[in-house]
């Protein structure tokens, strides 16, 4: 059975690490895009420019980046004809040659009787540098740093390198990401912890980092919570997509993040408190006796959960107090044979739980 959503998601999955030119070509004639940006109303006798405009402005070149209004009008005509709608959601949109504009068009300086495939070919042949620069900047800002316009031009150098690789590999995405993820720059201290978590990052990063067990009910709540915090999958506010970074944060969303993460942690704890002990133990080397030092363990958890730890010693000390919790001092101070250890103490899971609850409220927890 045909499904608009399936064919759309399938297109994203097949192409996300594939060839960007193929991706661009395929996404433009998914039903999802044809309906969303009015391709289904782009009749050769009465062109609709909506998709042509966004193809250049949002998806490949960037606003006003070496194309004209005339290019948009001519491109819309070349893309016309995908208007046979059938029953919405049940039948795939098809191309009707009768509704396609067969006159001559001039696109990015190239003149001919162009159709859909010609538009994609001309775009990638005539504007490779613009596409590569625009897309690599997006990748850089998504994966490395939200601001790629530093005074020293460091980011620009990296983006140019990525763009060269993109063009040299005929717009294959994987080699570009591979180069970026293996670069020293990717691991620079100044590039760590500078991205504000999206709602999905917020919930699913901790799920992955903690390795806590979950089922479909948990996933359904996390997806629901993400929606409450304004990120509903495949449903951004407008065609420009989520603006990310600080747009994820306001006082309302902040309260939402605090309350929901608290509930989630509590559910994890109630379903299996021992997984909190296991999580703590996974972060310290037990052989060195570290599992008996509460501050060493707390620090390991803090530094693992937060991208750059806490702000200063005073903040660390507040967190240590939380982790030490109600366990009396003398149990920590047994010299060579302390009587507290994370492996054996019955309080262990609760202590890890209290610390995680505390950390989840800290401003640093919003960064990745």
């Amino acid at each position: 059975m045909y499904s608009i959503s399936y064919s759309y998601v399938n297109c994203l999955q097949r192409n996300s690490l594939g060839n960007f030119k193929t991706f661009t070509s395929e996404i433009g004639i998914t039903d999802a895009m044809l309906y969303y940006l009015d391709g289904v109303y782009n009749n050769g006798h009465n062109p609709n420019e909506n998709y042509a405009r966004e193809l250049y402005e949002l998806f490949t070149l960037g606003e006003g980046n070496n194309y004209t209004e005339e290019d948009i009008v001519e491109t819309a005509r070349a893309l016309s004809g995908y208007v046979e709608r059938g029953e919405l959601g049940c039948e795939q949109v098809t191309f009707d040659p009768e509704k396609h504009d067969t006159d001559s068009k001039t696109i990015l300086g190239q003149t001919g009787n162009w159709g859909y495939d010609d538009v994609i070919n001309i775009l990638f042949e005539q504007r490779p540098a613009e596409i590569a620069g625009f897309i690599c900047k997006k990748l850089y800002e998504f994966f490395v740093h939200p601001d790629s316009n530093d005074n020293a031009g460091n980011a620009q150098v990296i983006i140019s390198g990525m763009a060269d690789t993109f063009i040299a590999n005929d717009f294959e995405i994987a080699p570009v990401l591979s180069q970026l993820f293996k670069s020293q720059h990717f691991f620079d201290d100044e590039a760590i912890g500078v991205i504000i978590k999206s709602p999905y990052d917020f919930y699913f990063n901790i799920l992955k980092e903690s390795s806590f067990s979950y089922d479909d009910t948990v996933l359904a709540s996390l997806i629901n919570y993400s929606g409450l915090l304004s990120q509903r999958m495949f449903d951004p506010f407008d065609v420009a997509g989520w603006q990310r970074n600080r747009s994820w944060i306001n006082t309302n969303f902040m309260i939402g993040r605090w309350l929901t993460i608290e509930t989630i942690m509590e559910e994890f704890f109630n379903s299996d408190d021992e997984q909190f002990r296991a999580f703590g133990l996974s972060l310290v080397s037990v052989n060195e006796g570290n599992a008996s030092n509460p501050d060493v363990i707390a620090r390991a958890i803090i530094d693992f959960i937060l991208p750059k730890g806490l702000l200063n010693d005073s903040e660390y000390n507040k967190a240590y107090v939380i982790f030490r919790s109600d366990v009396q001092e003398q149990y920590y101070e047994g010299g060579s044979t302390p009587s507290w250890s994370l492996q054996t103490s019955m309080e262990g899971p609760t202590q890890v739980y209290l610390l995680l609850q505390y950390l989840a409220r800290q401003p640093e927890f919003q960064l990745k």
Binding site: E190, I196, L367
Partner: protein
């Protein structure tokens, strides 16, 4: 990205001033200002309490109805209750049961024919004769839990059959407040019902619906809040000049504002009251709430 060559000429000066501020506003002076001399949990509802620096918190506390204050100090750790308030009527049994640590009879100060205190607690003796010192003796329960958490939960919950995460998660004060403020979440009292200094692990103020205490992790944090009115410091010198520092400063600011606005919004909500009836649909409810906030003088510039 980062401009590491940027330096702020005011940084050093600001930093000095910041340190001085902290020196002059010590933990002790804060406690004196609050009128308490130890840490633990304290409940306030009084205008007797004055702090040198006015803050939303102390103002809220000062506005409550009664001048009675209950301060609960929870000492964590071990203590021999029978060596603290000594049953002198049964001195022999007492001494026999703890041969190594009993208080010698010569060092026991008599309070009544039945009970005495160790001589190192002599400053409490005159308070006893003035009626200002009372003790509840021999509090405990059978089959004591040796877990620190379950043990303290039992005392906070006071219900021996249902305690800790496996049972009913409430404390005796929380249940008391639940009766005082049945509508607490919808219309909480203007001042916090209680202030708790210390872990949020304690159950004492936990009710079925919510925790009734304004909780701070430790007294330094309460001091910071009372002094500055904000939870997280935003002084420039705390942050580096790079994007990370910038993002963190931004997020701390939003967290502060969130705490602050939730207070301000609540104040306005309490002051305002709807003049007309609104319909029972979600849009009408939003309008009703906004009208109420506006009526309460919430100084919104736009909605």
């Amino acid at each position: 990205m980062c401009d590491t060559h940027h330096t702020d000429p005011h940084k050093g000066l600001e930093h000095d001033g910041h340190d001085q501020e902290h020196k002059s506003w010590s933990r002790r002076s804060f406690l004196q200002a609050l009128g308490i001399a130890g840490s633990g949990s304290m409940m306030l509802g009084s205008n007797m309490l004055t702090a040198s620096a006015p803050s939303p918190l102390t103002a809220a506390i000062a506005n409550s109805e009664t001048d009675k204050i209950l301060i609960l100090i929870r000492l964590s750790g071990g203590n021999d209750g029978l060596s603290t308030v000594i049953p002198i009527e049964q001195y022999d049994s007492y001494a026999k049961a703890r041969p190594n640590i009993y208080i010698p009879e010569s060092k026991v100060l008599k309070l009544t024919d039945e009970f005495g205190i160790p001589s190192y607690m002599k400053s409490l003796q005159p308070m006893w004769s003035e009626g200002q010192f009372k003790a509840v003796h021999g509090v405990g329960y059978e089959g004591q839990s040796l877990s620190h958490f379950t043990g303290s939960d039992v005392f906070a919950n006071t219900d021996l059959t249902s305690t800790g995460f496996s049972g009913l998660n409430t404390g005796w004060m929380g249940r008391h407040f639940e009766e005082c403020y049945p509508d607490y979440l919808v219309s909480p009292p203007p001042a916090p019902a209680a202030i708790q200094i210390g872990q949020f692990g304690s159950l004492v103020f936990q009710g079925d619906e919510t925790n009734y205490a304004f909780v701070t992790s430790n007294v330094e944090q309460l001091e910071e809040i009372a002094e500055s009115g904000v939870r997280y410091g935003l002084e420039q010198e705390l942050f580096n000049d790079c994007m990370y520092g910038d993002q963190l400063q931004f997020l701390r600011g939003v967290a502060n504002t969130t705490y602050e606005y939730s207070g301000v919004i609540h104040e306005a909500w309490s002051r305002g009251a709807n003049q007309v009836e609104y319909q029972e649909n979600s849009f009408a409810k939003q309008l009703a709430l906004l009208a109420r906030l506006i009526k309460g003088n919430l100084e919104l510039r736009s909605i």
